[in-house]
Amino acid sequence: MTAAIDDDRLNETFAALANSTRRAILARLAEGAATVNELAEPFELTLPAVSKHIKVLERAGLVQRSHRAQYRPCVLDAAPLEQISTWAEQYRPVWEARFDRMDDYLTQLRPQRKTGAGDD
């Protein structure tokens, strides 16, 4: 199952959640569907600014918008949240990639590694 983790998607989910306004929008949507106008109200943001946040959330799969209705309400989609709710395992690929880079970096340092300091 772990092999099936979509790393890019996970990055997008975390990036989307890394913004307090977007988290507040999600918290609002947890109470029910809302239009962009309704979402904009409590934040004192312009409609374009709110739309931009919603687009990020849409791309991360956290928000869906109806294409049928004229006013296109936003609805929270919890699926990506369920994925990262086991965040620890989800972090494994991030760390593995980091340690790959550490390994590469150590290889780069090797020829210079003589008297301890590896700076340039």
Binding site: M1, T2, N11, A15, A18, N19, S20, R22, R23, A24, I25, L26, A27, A30, G32, K52, V56, R59, V75, L76, D77, A78, L81, E82, I84, S85, T86, W87, A88, E89, Y91, R92, V94, W95, E96, A97, R98, F99, R101, M102, D103, D104, Y105, L106, L109, R110, R113, G116, G118, D119
Partner: protein
């Protein structure tokens, strides 16, 4: 395949590096070295302030490239254990640029959760080579914010899951 590990919310990774233990220690404690490998793909570590002693603070600034441009993220924490070339333990929370952990209201989540995690690095000198065991664990159970990022998300997910079947 990993079902049995689900009870413990921690990642444990063991690696061996073809480098002396002192250099691996520097990878974690020297900002210039740390910046070279830590950033996830597509991210740059712009700031790495590390006061590496027990009780000392750390602040990591990360620039993430998103479709909407550059996004700055901050992570703050404190060193819990510092045993040179052997063991390094620090906490980490999302924060602002001054290292103030994001408050629950900032995060837009109902229950208090500093969202603190703990990173533990254990090194073993294999004579020129180094064995490293890294453990990244969720909020310590005894902390006041034990509700945690995970539980807040679980709750949100469960809440929405219950509603979405209408």
């Amino acid at each position: 395949m990993t079902d049995n590990n689900a009870s413990q919310d921690a990642v444990v990774i063991e690696r061996s590096f073809d480098a002396p233990v002192g250099l691996i220690w520097q990878m974690w404690t020297d900002p210039e070295h740390f910046k070279k490998w830590y950033g996830p793909d597509g991210a740059t570590i712009s700031v790495a302030n590390m006061d590496v002693r027990v009780g000392g603070t750390r602040l990591i600034g990360m620039e993430v490239h998103t479709p909407n441009g550059l996004m700055q993220m901050w992570f703050a924490g404190e060193y819990r254990e510092v045993v040179e070339n052997e063991r390094l333990v620090y906490t980490e929370s999302m924060s602002d640029e001054n290292g103030n952990a994001s408050s629950p209201s900032d995060i837009g989540m109902p229950d208090g959760h500093p969202g603190t995690t703990e990173v533990r690095v254990e090194l073993e000198d294999l004579g020129g080579r180094t064995k490293m065991v890294m453990t990244h664990a969720g909020v310590p159970r005894d902390s006041p914010g034990a509700a945690g990022w995970t539980m807040a998300l679980d709750k949100l997910a469960a809440y929405v899951g219950a509603r979405s079947t209408r």
